[in-house]
Every structure is written in structure tokens, then in C-alpha cells.
Symmetry: C2
DNA sequence: CTGTATCCTCAAGGATACTG
DNA sequence: CAGTATCCTTGAGGATACAG
């Protein structure tokens, strides 16, 4: 982005945070992604070359640090200091501009990636769990597997013949509204917009380890 | 700006605040400008057509409100709610990225416009005061007049034959550093980087009604 | 003063393929 | 996995002139 050539902190800050995609890259780092591919999974519509470019730029600006081996990316002290600003922007938008999701956002893979980052590992049963999500109305990634494990969970978009423990079938818009805290599990399930099938014990524990968006509870 | 197509408050917020110049336009509104030309004087490197476009966009987004007659522009409730985010961004940059001013920023007109917005009207003598500022090292607007009045002050970049009460001659970089709170009047004057000439009473009251940047004292 | 209209340029960034 | 290289498009926005 071209400089504003103004000696003003707001202008300088906007030069750092104002590049396209940059706030989302920082969001991914704030949400725990450290590896190039993980960051990219959180911002999949951005090209890999552009992500590489942004990471370099942020590194030069002193916001992030690249560590070998790995490599992994981490917020520096300056970057961590920027977190409240980015969360503040999110809180503002959550209050004033977030509406219901629209079709262009119906991406099962993307929601599930965000979901995965929030799984409450401590509440998981002490064994591996596979959950299959079906979002018939999604425009991309209509079927996604969530592989949960206290050691580390992951999201998979290809059928690799897992033994599925839990089946979730959901209207993706409703699912996203629950995730965003705009409606409740109870209401969505009562309306059968979300159906969870599997062993009763798992179904009951589901909403304990499945945490909502960071903005849902604020 | 193209949409990110993500159902995420940070992405939505970035779509509003991420357009080029937009944070600076909001800054101007936060700092008290209401009229099109006044806003533009605060962001003079932006073209007028682009400013018009941004104002419309912000109005559609519910951040600002256009009032007739005038017209004047004002932050809405949503817009005022965004203020802490923008100030937060500024505070962050003030701490982590603001260095000393560089040549591209040596614009006497722009600094003085920012200065004017902060004049402490209550501390002014009860009559009209004209201050002439000379910035020999400035790249644009090397000479600027500040017209002070309890009814309303203004900045003028053309010699209109004023009776000048106070002459300020300054190295613009030092002047900007004082403005930003990175050095003091005392030090700058001791080094003769800033020289204030005029009636003793006015010279002494000068630093009372001349307030520094909002970021200087934070 | 408060914009609008038009033209034109340039560079950001999307798409795609490739590499160590 | 972690990028790089290249090509190519498009639309953002700068410059300028004009209008109510």
C-alpha cells in the first residue's frame, strides 16, 4: 500500500493494518495458527503467494517473528500489543455490522476450521473421536470430518474411511448463527435445523467441548 | 474493496475500515471537522472525488450521517462506537511505529491544520491574534498564518496582509516532534530550533493555548 | 463551497504452475 | 510442507476539468 505521507499515528497504524488480508492474517495468528499452511487454511481465499508476501511484510514491520525450524510464525510483543485493536474492531463489527450469513459465506470447511481452533480439549472424552458434519446447503465443503484427540485435533475434507462416532447434519446458515451466538443449540435442534446422531453420552457432551466463536459470548 | 466473503466480525470490520483513506477520514470527523472542505483539508493528499465516494460509502455503512443544510457530516452512534478502535490503532502506532518525521511529511499546511483543531480556545486572549509560522525546511507550505479568535480559528496559506502579532520560526521536523510529544518546547527553544517572537505576554501565553497532538500526552 | 464526470495509469493481487 | 515465479486482469484511485 502506498504511504499516506502523514506524520500521524493513525495514518501509520493504518499503513500496517490497512493492507488487504492483513487483519485476517493477524487474526489467524491470534487464534493459534503458527504454520504457513495452517494460517492459509484460516484465510483460504487469499493466494499463497500473497500470504507469503504479507508475512514478510509483517515480519519487516516487527509485528511477527519467523522461527526456524518449522518454520513457525509468532506475534512479537508489538504484535501482541495490536491484539486488543483487532479484537476491538471485531467487537465493533459484531455489534454493528454482522448480520446473518449469506450464501457466499457458506463454506463448511472454513467454519469447521474456525470451530476446530476453539475445541475445548479438556472436555473431550479420553479417546479419539471422529465427527462427520454434513452441510447440505453449503456452497463448498458440504461434508467435513473433525478428528478430535487430546493430543491435537484436525479437520479433514476428504473421506478417508474414518470410523465416525458422531454425525452432525445441519443447515449451514443455522450452524453459523449458533457459532456466532445469534441463536442457541437448543433452538436449532428443536427446529431440527441441526441434528446430532450418535451414542447418547457423546451427544450430551457435545456442546461442552464444542465452544462457540470468541465473539459469541462477549 | 472486494468482500472477504467470510462470516467473521474481524473480516466485516476490516471491510469497513480497510478501504484506503477511510481511517483518516474518520479521524478528521473525530477531530471535529464537519464540512466537506474541512475534512479534505485534513486529508489533502486524497482526491476530492475519492473523498466524496468514501463519505457516501461510510454513510451507506451507517458510520456517518449527512445533514442538510450545509451539508455537514457527523459520526452516527455506530461511528462514535468505532472511535476507541481508531484511537487504539493510533496509540499502538504511536508506541510501536512512529519515529521522527521524514521529508515527505514536511508539510507546514498539514501540521498547522492539525494544530488548529487542538487550540485551547478558552486560553486565548480575548481578541483576535494572528500568528505567522515559518518553516524554512518544509517541502510544502513554508509559511502559514494562524488566525485565532474565540469565535473560531482558521489557517491560511496565503499572505493576505494580516497584522501579525506573533512570529514563529521553526525547523519543521523539530516542530513536529514537539507536537508529537517527542521533545519539549523548552528543549526546542533552548536549541533555537523554534523561535517565538512578539510581545512578552503573548510569548508567555503561547504554550497554554497551543495544545499538542492528542497522542503526545497519552 | 460541494461536489460530479471522465480519462487514464499502474500496481495490487488472483490464477496457475512449479520447486526444494 | 512451504513457499516461488509468472502471467495477466481489473478496478482503485490519481489528475483534471467542469457544474450547480
Amino acid at each position: 500500500m502506498r504511504s499516506y505521507d502523514e506524520y500521524c499515528p493513525i495514518a501509520m497504524g493504518a499503513e500496517v493494518l490497512g493492507d488487504r488480508w492483513t487483519p485476517l492474517v493477524i487474526r489467524e495468528l491470534m487464534c493459534g495458527s503458527e504454520r504457513f499452511s495452517d494460517i492459509h487454511r484460516g484465510v483460504p481465499r487469499m493466494s499463497r503467494s500473497l500470504l507469503a508476501q504479507r508475512l514478510k511484510h509483517l515480519e519487516r514491520a516487527g509485528i511477527i517473528e519467523r522461527r526456524e525450524p518449522g518454520p513457525t510464525y509468532h506475534l512479537t510483543e508489538a504484535g501482541r500489543d495490536l491484539e486488543p485493536v483487532v479484537w476491538g474492531l471485531g467487537d465493533w463489527a459484531n455489534h454493528w455490522v454482522l448480520g446473518d450469513p449469506v450464501k457466499e459465506q457458506y463454506d463448511g470447511g472454513h467454519v469447521m476450521w474456525r470451530v476446530r481452533q476453539r475445541i475445548v480439549v479438556e472436555e473431550l472424552p479420553p479417546r479419539r473421536i471422529v465427527v462427520r458434519f454434513d452441510f447440505p446447503a453449503a456452497t463448498t465443503r458440504r461434508r467435513v470430518w473433525l478428528l478430535l484427540d487430546q493430543a491435537g485435533s484436525s479437520v479433514c475434507a476428504r473421506d478417508e474411511g474414518f470410523d465416525v462416532d458422531l454425525h452432525v447434519t445441519a443447515d449451514i446458515a443455522t450452524f453459523m448463527r449458533v457459532w456466532a451466538g445469534r441463536t442457541t443449540w437448543r433452538e436449532a435442534m428443536d427446529d431440527e435445523q441441526i441434528v446430532v446422531e450418535g451414542p447418547g453420552e457423546l451427544v450430551r457432551s457435545f456442546t461442552r467441548w464444542f465452544a462457540l466463536s470468541p465473539f459469541a459470548t462477549r
